[in-house]
């Protein structure tokens, strides 16, 4: 399927660009596009692309350009002046790139319309090296940016606004498939199916992006090893963030907040191994972190606040290190589905801890059992959740605290901290919707 479609795309592209490739042998280094533009100029972007020399620049002046899909097969830089808009009129993708060193900057891409037959994208780049997509706006696009078999591409400072609608009528914001060394940074992505999507990619990174109100996941990656996700903000995405089937991943200093639905996770880790989940903020999620079949991960220095469940650690998640995290005002700090466990929970701060520290070394002298008895009740009978704030729930928890019988003994924090680990929040991490609350 994928192969035949790819050949079709390349075939079409070749057909359109026969003339272009001939002219490119000796073109202009700068071609203007637009009404009243200085010469050398072209009426359409397609003409300009034919006129411009390899490694030359097309400068698009303000105006709405509703041309047929542009196909770029040579290294070129297309720069938009403010007000330069490429419009797909709800009927087509806007740019297809199959060349190394192509740069798209300062343009507005809009109205691709949706498609059920292909992954229609405002900008599709395939089999390219070192492309740059920066400072563009994507408005009402199905897929905003679709990268396939690329290497060393940079996606920076773009703004992407998806089509309003359902999961099936929107595509992903930044879609990266089978690529290497892609850097996705400082983008703002709103209202796509998945904000950022990586599959079969390596050594990619996503940093300082803001992804909100995705119809499915803010960030979704699978089979993508050795990638880094740092200092991003994932807020109010319908199903939160889900990452699966990867190892040596670093997820650090991100904010995961307001994933509040029945199947919604601040961060779902499924078969993620040997990875770092460090220094993140989890705020106001139904389930902040869910570990399922995830092994040998370091979950440390994270802050969990006001979540339904801060952490769900299933029995098939083994040898994880849960250390130095801080838990505040979560309904359940930790829950599990089993009596036996093979992960280490140690040295965290729990606001529920009622122990003492006689030797004043900052570590509580009695262990803390972070699994509430009522969490086990809810695990068995989810409907009992309605009574989670009742006196009965408190009474059960108290009973369990006095005489622990049911909560797993292996899930004891033997060295609970007396104070939260203080971490200077980066400016990026101040959440948009945090109210005027002060930390205790």
């Amino acid at each position: 399927m994928r192969h035949s479609r790819r050949w079709l795309v390349i075939g079409t592209a070749l057909l359109f660009s026969v003339h272009g490739s001939l002219a490119a042998q000796s073109g202009d280094t700068l071609v203007h596009v637009g009404k009243g533009a200085p010469s050398p100029s072209a009426a359409t972007i397609a003409d300009a692309l034919r006129q411009v020399a390899r490694h030359g620049q097309v400068l698009v002046h303000a105006g709405v350009y509703a041309e047929s899909t542009l196909v770029i097969l040579k290294p070129v830089r297309i720069t938009g002046k403010p007000g330069a808009i490429l419009d797909g009129q709800g009927a087509r993708g806007l740019v297809i790139v199959n060349s190394d060193s192509v740069e798209l900057r300062g343009l507005t891409f809009r109205n691709t319309g949706s498609s059920h037959t292909d992954d229609r994208a405002a900008v599709r780049i395939f089999e390219s090296i070192a492309c740059v997509v920066a400072q563009n706006r994507f408005e009402s696009t199905f897929f905003a940016l679709h990268l396939q078999r690329v290497d060393g591409c940079i996606v920076r400072e773009n703004t992407m606004q998806g089509l309003a609608g359902s999961q099936s009528t929107t595509g992903n914001g930044v879609h990266v498939w089978s690529s290497r060394n892609v850097q996705v940074e400082h983008n703002t992505i709103t209202g796509h199916r998945d904000g950022i999507y990586f599959e079969f990619s390596r050594q990619a990174s996503a940093r300082q992006n803001v992804v909100t109100e995705s119809l499915r996941y803010g960030l979704h990656f699978m089979f993508s090893d050795s990638c880094a996700y740092e200092s991003n903000r994932f807020v109010a995405n319908r199903s939160g963030v889900a990452v699966m089937y990867a190892k040596h991943v670093r997820i650090a200093d991100n904010l995961f907040s307001d994933a509040r639905n029945s199947a919604s996770y601040g961060l779902l880790l499924k078969e993620i191994n040997d990875s770092q989940i460090v220094g993140n903020d989890f705020l106001n999620n139904t389930i902040a972190v869910h570990l399922e079949g995830a092994n040998r991960n370091h979950v440390s220095g994270n802050r969990f606040e006001a979540n339904g469940w801060a952490m769900r650690l299933l029995a098939d998640a083994q040898e994880n290190q849960i250390r130095d995290n801080s838990f505040f005002r979560n309904v359940f700090d930790l829950s599990t589905n089993s009596q036996s466990h093979f992960s280490t929970v140690r040295g965290n701060y729990w606001d529920r801890y009622r122990g003492y520290d006689l030797d004043r070394d900052g570590v509580g002298d009695v262990p803390h059992a972070p699994v509430r008895l009522f969490a086990l009740v809810v695990e068995r009978a989810p409907a009992a959740l309605l009574l989670v704030r009742s006196a009965v729930a408190d009474a059960l928890d108290l009973l369990e605290r006095i005489a622990p019988t049911l909560t797993p003994a292996t899930l004891l924090d033997q060295a609970p901290r007396m104070r939260a680990t203080v971490r200077a929040p980066s400016a990026q991490l101040v959440p948009a919707r945090r109210s005027n609350e002060r930390a205790p």
């Binding site: 509040r260 639905n261 029945s262 919604s264 106001n284 999620n285 139904t286 389930i287 006001a306 979540n307 339904g308 469940w309 005002r329 309904v331 359940f332 009740v377 068995r380 009978a381 989810p382 409907a383 009992a384 959740l385 309605l386 009574l387 989670v388 704030r389 009742s390 006196a391 009965v392 729930a393 408190d394 009474a395 059960l396 109210s435 005027n436 609350e437 002060r438 930390a439 205790p440």
Partner: protein
């Protein structure tokens, strides 16, 4: 007019009653303590949840029953006046509840006011607390007056008041948890919701919980809860249910008052 005369005297009496004043002070101290411990108004209100849900019904039923008995002779004096019993009852009921509602409102609002925390941000939550506290006061005051009118023995009345309080706040929830655990294989969302509506304390808690930080959790129970309790229809359903929880005990109490031999 006659109701108003009784009401005015009752309010004048109770607003200077030391137990009512102690109740205000207690609520204010608890709110202040929670504010100091948690460091913010929303968290203080969040911590106030079980204080409100346990303390308000307890204080109102016990105080209501005791008050009924201490003021019984004066009530008889008023009954000897040519006003309909129903009017007198309304005067007594409102005269009892208005000062208690005010005591509650002042108790939880004053500390926040003094800390200049009455911001637009906590207004919806505070409004919910005021609404729920008022509803619980009206409901349990009616129950107290019903106990008073049907139970002449002071000790038995007090025992009954404590029994009803315990049943509504602790026993009922215990049974519901037990029920949920035993029938965990069944789809329980709807029966559970029905059970929440069937007890004013649980209804009050559910309403408050949707406003609190633990709302994050509620996503888990899925669409049923959101559909029934969310939005305009949910507000209508909960307010109707709370109103019924005031109206039914009030009607029962009024009826036994009208029929009573003093």
């Amino acid at each position: 007019m006659l109701i108003l005369a009784v009401l005015r005297a009752q309010v004048a009496e109770l607003s200077r009653n030391r137990w009512v004043l102690s109740y205000t002070v207690l609520l204010a101290v608890l709110t202040e303590a929670l504010y100091q411990l948690s460091g913010s108004a929303p968290r203080a209100l969040s911590g106030l949840l079980n204080v409100v849900l346990l303390l308000v019904p307890l204080v109102i039923t016990v105080f209501g029953v005791v008050y009924w008995h201490t003021s019984r002779e004066f009530t008889e004096l008023l009954l000897a006046q040519p006003l309909p019993r129903r009017a007198l009852w309304c005067g007594l009921y409102l005269g009892l509840t208005i000062p208690l509602v005010l005591a509650y409102a002042v108790g939880i609002t004053l500390p926040l006011l003094l800390h200049r925390e009455l911001t637009a941000a906590i207004a919806p939550l505070l409004a919910m607390y005021l609404l729920v506290g008022t509803a619980l006061t009206l409901c349990f005051a009616a129950i107290a007056l019903w106990i008073g009118a049907t139970q002449d023995d002071r000790l038995k009345a007090l025992g009954l008041a404590l029994g009803i309080w315990f049943a509504a706040t602790v026993l009922y929830d215990g049974l519901v948890v037990w029920f949920a655990t035993v029938y965990s294989d069944w789809p329980l969302e709807k029966p559970m919701l029905a059970l929440m509506f069937a007890n004013p304390v649980d209804l009050a808690r559910t309403v408050l919980m949707l406003q609190l930080d633990s709302a994050a959790l509620m996503g888990y129970t899925g669409a049923v809860l959101a559909n029934v309790l969310g939005g305009y229809r949910g507000a209508l359903a909960t307010i109707t249910a709370l109103a019924l929880w005031i109206l039914l005990p009030a009607l029962a109490a009024g009826r036994s008052f009208v029929k009573k031999d003093f």
